[in-house]
């Protein structure tokens, strides 16, 4: 396959940045998208140019490190996958592919295609945990019974890998799907009940502080989420928030 790649290049956080066009040949349909970028980078290194900087780690769709807005969609045109699981067979010979970093005020670009997603970590640190006594008298987790449907729903929410595709896809750059998944996974379980009110108030406050936009229920986040996190989590967080705020 021969491709035209239009890639966002930005020297550092303060540089203006812009789209640079590259022609790339010899791309195999069975390559992953990141392997295709590896080939491009090898070409650039061979020519003495600086390679394109992009985030990646496990390359198995687990870690949530890879990002990339590909032809206007986070993680590209396929569904329920991360960029590292996207294969070049999704594209045709002669295609032009536009590759950009995830865009949000709360995700500032560090360099080229890498953005700083530590705002997600600060939301999580604000309340996305349960306090456990680790003094040696820790209770067996299995001693607290959890209904199967609740456990399954909590697990579904917990599959969020925090990649930021929800923010990237949302026209408002809202982080409601991420935050609501992190609130839900604990709110649904008895272990999370003790700090439920404090948790949802603190996490939403931090989310707002980070400069994410407001959710307008477009549903783009749910469609683009590589783990299929449901919009129901947002409704649940809205309920939790209203209940906690009016106490």
């Amino acid at each position: 396959m021969n491709l035209t790649l239009k890639i966002w290049r930005q020297k550092d956080a303060n540089a203006k940045g812009g789209i640079v066009t590259y022609q790339l040949g010899g791309v195999e349909p069975d390559m992953s998208f990141l392997e295709m970028l590896d080939v491009l980078n090898q070409d650039l290194i061979d020519k003495g140019e600086e390679p394109v900087v992009f985030d990646h780690d496990c390359r198995e769709g687990i870690c949530g490190t890879c990002s990339l807005q590909i032809n206007g969609e986070p993680h590209g045109p396929d569904r329920l996958i991360t960029t590292c699981q996207l294969h070049m067979r999704m594209f045709k010979d002669g295609d032009t592919i536009v590759i950009e970093p995830f865009r949000a005020k709360a995700f500032p670009v560090i360099k080229d295609l890498i953005v700083d997603r530590s705002s997600f970590e600060r939301i999580q640190q604000a309340g996305g945990y349960v306090s456990v006594n680790t003094s040696g008298n820790t209770q067996d987790a299995n001693a607290i019974l959890v209904p199967k449907d609740k456990a399954d729903t909590a697990f579904d929410a917990a599959t969020c890998i925090g990649c930021g595709a929800c923010v990237a896809a949302c026209k408002n750059a809202s982080a409601m799907l991420f935050t609501s998944a992190k609130v839900s996974q604990l709110a649904l379980l008895p272990q999370g009940e003790v700090e439920a009110d404090r948790r949802v108030l603190a996490m939403v406050e931090q989310m707002d502080k980070e400069g994410f936009g407001n959710c307008t229920n477009t549903g783009a986040c749910e469609i683009e989420c590589p783990k299929g996190i449901s919009l129901e989590n947002i409704a649940r967080m809205n309920r939790e928030y209203l209940r906690a705020s009016t106490k």
């Binding site: 707002d208 936009g213 959710c215 229920n217 549903g219």
Partner: protein, 220 residues
């Protein structure tokens, strides 16, 4: 409780509740207007009641105007904040791949509805207020039908009303069902309501279009 109104979720809930309140108003407005199609007398009677009842005029009407103002002002605030949340735009953004046109363009369909409200107030509300409270004419319970249908002799005005109702429908198609999500309804109720909200969002504006077009052709 003190910081609740500063939060994005609280603002969205207020937006949703004011929207649901306006949906209720829209339904009663449609039902009253629809009487003009089959009975001038009924339309006059209901309009006279609405225009002269103290409870409607001095309690419900101010609440309605407050609801309209809250919905529009908050809409602009949310839009402003949302634009600030992505200062640098994408070179390519494929929104149609994952969301409806209506959901992405609520501000534009809302602005058309706002512009329509200005025209609608110019046509009916301001003349009514001047007639009743400034010029203080004696009550005439038979004037409403004639004054209303007279506006629809103008093809341009009728066309503007039709276009506005199409945009109202587009606004409702996302806004009505979305408001249940904002107030935190369970998914099973929210999805169950989806069909009803879509039917309302199409049928009520279509009904308003029918009324405007009916009175236009009735007078050609």
């Amino acid at each position: 409780m003190s910081g609740i109104l500063k939060s994005s979720i609280a603002r969205k809930v207020v937006m949703a509740l004011s929207g649901l309140f306006l949906v209720l108003f829209l339904l009663q407005h449609f039902l009253i207007n629809f009487t003009s199609v089959f009975s001038a007398t009924t339309f006059n009677e209901v309009s006279h009641f609405m225009g002269s009842n103290f409870f409607v005029q001095f309690l419900l009407q101010p609440i309605l105007i407050l609801g309209v103002i809250i919905h529009f002002v908050l809409g602009f605030v949310l839009e402003y904040n949302n634009r600030k949340a992505r200062v640098k735009k994408y070179v390519r953004f494929n929104g149609s791949a994952n969301s409806t046109w209506m959901s992405r363009n609520m501000i534009w369909t809302g602005l058309v509805v706002l512009a329509f409200l200005v025209l609608h107030f110019y046509d009916f509300w301001f003349p009514e207020i001047i007639h009743k409270y400034i010029q203080v004419h004696p009550e005439d319970p038979t004037r409403y039908y004639g004054e209303t249908v007279a506006k629809f002799t103008d093809p341009v005005r009728t066309l503007l009303y039709v276009i506005s109702f199409i945009f109202l429908s587009l606004h409702l198609l996302h806004g009505f069902s979305s408001s249940f999500q904002s107030v935190g309804w369970h998914e099973k109720f929210y999805k169950g309501m989806r069909g009803a909200t879509v039917a309302f969002s199409i049928l009520i504006p279509l009904g308003f279009i029918f009324i405007a077009v009916y009175h236009y052709f009735n007078q050609v």
